[in-house]
Amino acid sequence: MDIENIKKEALEKIENIKDKNDLDLFRRDYLGKRGKIRDLFSLVKDLSIEEKKTLGQKINQLAQEIEEIFLLKEKGFKKEKKEEIDLTLPVKMTELGNLHPITQVRREMERIFQLMGFSIVEGPEIENEWYNFDALNIPEGHPARDALSLGKTFYLKGGNVLRTQTSSAQVRYMKKIKPPIKIIVPGRVYRYETTDASHETNFFQLEGLFIDENVSVANLKAVLKKFLEEFFKREVEIRLRPSYFPFTEPSFEVDMVCTVCNGKGCSSCKKTGWVEILGSGMVHPNVIKNGGLDPKKYKGFAFGLSIDRPTMMKYKINDIRLFHSGNLNFLKQF
């Protein structure tokens, strides 16, 4: 068969091909292992070298040409198969599961403190009175003990209390780990409260404790500022104000510049430009002693951070009770 005829026949055939199946057959017939091009090559092998060369070139050219028209046709088929779509049609959003906003914020806090070398530990929610009060330098008869124990503490039948602050884990871990002790204790705490938009009986705190031979207020300031900057993802200015807690001396209230007005003064910061963010201080020597350590050798700082409040600040939530409402209209927003 002569080359020109094959070419003509192929061109005619491919012109009439209407579907993918026929195109596959065409490929098999011409370009396949037992196709016509192969047949032509097998004829050439008995010819002289001179003829081999000229005819060989011609067959190669034919093969190239047929392959080109095949690819062109194939491309055409692919184009035709494009599906019609219409994204303007309405749909329902895919349902995802959700993590509680407190879980999300707590994880973020844990992540930041872990980066600064704080290990996460947890303590029991049912505490004995010694760890909840006495160990924290709040002995029987202390006004702070009365304020906490008579007004704010839940007592259980058969003894023990529900912890009023995550600080109750401080002395437990001082007894367990050797310094340097660098821990955070996140978890649920309980206060006897009349609940309203800003008061809850069940809420969450994150306690921080760093005990070593040389720990200073300067360290506390740096760690807290770094934490707040990472947490709020912006530059943060903080200030320490004198405060009083039985378990720290000196004690501080830590304020940060109001994120709403940048310190200019607005309704969320009561026009002061500052927002109270946590309580902290240098661990009281009696607490270090209660942890079985020598207060002459070891110093430390401690701080107690609410998890609920920064969560409310972050998402502008105006009612703390929503956290325990189980209401998916609320929980599915995060």
């Binding site: 599961g97 872990q114 006004p143 008579l150 300031k221 009083y244 189980g326």
Partner: protein
């Protein structure tokens, strides 16, 4: 506590900075200022005096003293001018010197009870105290000035002498403007020979009240045991301007100063002071080290500056930094208290920020790791996380027949027990949410309280598709690397250990797992299994097996056979056309080799082996 700006000004010669500035200085160095309010030609400063400083700072003198230190200005104390010319006396007795540390009194004769001068009435009003008469007002004015509560009795109504003693059980007192109060031996009273005249440190009685007819008075300036006063005030639920001060440690050396100031203002001749002070409180010493103070603060303050601050605060600095503490500062007992004084006066804002040097990396907490992993998986399975209170009430207790731990002082009867399970709450949450959603899938990972406090992972789905829940449970366990899980009718087991249960209540499917048991079996490291590119051969077989052979067992037996990739059971039935003791099942078996495409012969051989393994019978 409310302070008058003008009152504070009266302690200084030079004008004070503006009220806003004063408020800021106090906030940063002493106590937080809550608010400032303009009142005619004065300002109100509301200051949150810290509890450990109430003993010396529930007074204008106290705040003025703070300002004198912070502004480095000299404080001018008001003048005292008295004429102790009267010869009158009254027998006074303290029954127990640990109840009453000091009792100072003075008799004044021929007073005229009338309205107070305007300047006193104004000061009292600004500080929130009602004007009563010139004598009572002066005692209150001096209390605002010095922090020492005072009391005035009608001298002529006292029978015999005064005794400071515990009340007798069943004794009564008629209080000012109030009803009769029953007393007992835990309550300290000021009594004459007939009975109680006042509840010590808290409130005066009707009997020796100052009235328009009063001519002669006796002034009391005393110091009582702060814990006793605090307990009584709380028990009787009476809080007065006197009691909130006596609940703190007031300096017993203050009584004389206060009574002399009162006498100066009344400016009538008085008797010699009657002063019972069994154990005089003297200044005490605290030894500090400059290095310790600086190390703790993380800054270098010079010795000179430290001594300067302490001297301004009224401390006496002796050799070797042994500090003599004035008796008004009963909050200062250990070196750390001094460190705080230096820090706050010097200014916490001047302390630099120094990140601690790296000590050791944080350790992984595997409890938290697995909790996070489980929560993430639940989220992937389209569950939303909820938190329930740790409290439940009778309704949950009875409906679910729970044994519970009781709270002695619950906030309400709905919250009087600790929850031993989260299921009742999850079911309630599901019901509530069904008002707004077509389908609800929720979970909680939280503490429950039985004999022990433990952590559970539980969930609820708003339909009875418990097999769908089973699929979720399988996915959860797979994600946690647990493959030894098996099921009974209502329970989930790992090995022989029951780790959780599933149930349906009011059309809601729920489950609860003991999370510690899950965590104990969870595995984080996985080994790669060879990925085969050879085709999967699928065969469906139906037939009869023994009824008592559990589906779980059938599957696990078949999956152990070589070249079996997976088995699904897609139909099980008993009854019609099935002989008793048997059940009909339909299985789909997927076979695959890692090395080759399976031929028909091999496939037949495996299917036969499966049939033998499970004691298979053809259906007739």
């Amino acid at each position: 506590m409310i302070f008058s700006y003008n009152y504070l000004q009266s302690f200084f010669k030079e004008p004070l900075p503006k009220p806003e500035k004063i408020a800021e200085i106090l906030t940063m160095h002493s106590f937080e200022n809550e608010y400032i309010e303009k009142r005619e030609n004065d300002y109100i400063l509301s200051v949150d005096v810290l509890p450990d400083r109430a003993g010396d700072c529930f007074s204008h003198t106290g705040i003025a003293r703070e300002l004198s230190v912070l502004l480095n200005r000299k404080i001018i104390y008001p003048k005292v001018k008295i004429k102790e010319t009267l010869k009158d006396k009254l027998p006074i007795k303290i029954e127990n010197s640990s109840d009453c540390l000091r009792y100072t009194a003075s008799i004044i004769k021929n007073v005229k009870i009338e309205e107070s001068p305007k300047w006193i009435k104004e000061k009292l009003e600004i500080c929130g105290i009602n004007s009563i008469n010139n004598i009572v007002d002066v005692t209150n004015y001096i209390m605002l000035e010095t922090g020492q509560p005072m009391h005035a009795f009608d001298y002529d109504k006292i029978v015999g002498g005064i005794t400071v003693r515990r009340a007798k059980k069943g004794e009564k007192i008629l209080l000012l403007k109030e009803k009769e109060q029953l007393l007992d031996e835990n309550i300290l009273v000021i009594a004459d020979d007939e009975g109680p005249l006042a509840i010590a440190g808290i409130k005066g009685g009707k009997k020796a009240e100052i009235t328009k007819e009063t001519k002669n008075i006796i002034l009391e300036s005393a110091n009582f045991n702060s814990k006793l006063i605090s307990q009584t005030a709380r028990k009787l639920n009476i809080r007065t301007d006197a009691s909130i001060r006596f609940e703190q440690n007031i300096d017993p050396n203050l009584t004389i100063n206060a009574i002399e100031r009162t006498l100066s203002l009344i400016s009538l001749p008085s008797s010699s002071k009657i002063d019972l002070y069994p154990k005089k409180l003297k200044p005490w010493k605290v030894k500090v080290s400059i290095k310790d103070i600086n190390d703790t603060l993380g800054i270098i303050v010079s010795e000179k500056e430290i001594i300067g601050i302490l001297t301004r605060l009224g401390f006496v600095v002796n050799k070797n930094m042994t500090i003599e503490v004035p008796t008004r500062r009963q909050d200062i007992t250990i070196p750390e208290n001094i460190t705080e004084e230096i820090g706050r006066i010097y200014g916490y804002d001047k302390i630099p920020l120094t990140l601690p040097s790296f000590s050791k990396p944080a350790q992984i907490n595997y409890d938290i790791f697995w909790q996070n992993k489980a929560k993430d998986t639940m989220k992937e399975l389209q569950y939303s996380e909820v938190f329930g209170y740790s409290f439940i009430g009778d309704q949950e207790k009875e409906e679910f027949n729970l044994s519970v731990r009781e709270i002695i002082n619950p906030t309400s009867s709905y919250y009087k027990y600790l929850r031993p399970t989260t299921i009742p709450q999850l079911i309630n949450f599901t019901k509530e949410n069904l008002k707004y959603f077509n389908k609800v899938k929720i979970f909680e990972l939280g503490k429950v309280f039985g004999k022990e406090e433990r952590i559970v992972l539980s969930g609820a789905v708003s339909n009875s598709d418990y097999l769908g829940v089973k699929s979720d449970i399988l996915a959860l366990f797979n994600s946690l690397g647990i493959n030894k899980v098996s099921f009974t009718k209502e329970e989930i087991k790992i090995g022989k250990d029951i780790i959780g249960k599933v149930g349906i209540k009011s059309g809601i499917t729920f489950f609860e797992f003991d999370f510690e048991k899950i965590q104990k079996n969870a595995i984080d490291n996985r080994e790669y299994k060879h990925v085969s590119y050879h085709p999967i051969a699928t065969r469906d077989i139906s037939g009869l097996v023994d009824d008592d052979l559990e589906i779980e067992k059938i599957i696990s037996k078949i999956e152990k056979i070589d070249l079996v990739k997976s088995v699904e059971v897609f139909d099980v039935f008993k009854g019609k056309n099935v002989p008793s003791g048997k059940k009909s099942i339909s299985l789909r078996v997927n076979l695959q080799s890692k090395e080759r495409t399976l031929d028909g012969q091999t496939i037949d051989r495996i299917i036969n082996k499966i049939k033998e393994t499970i004691n298979w019978e053809e259906r007739k």
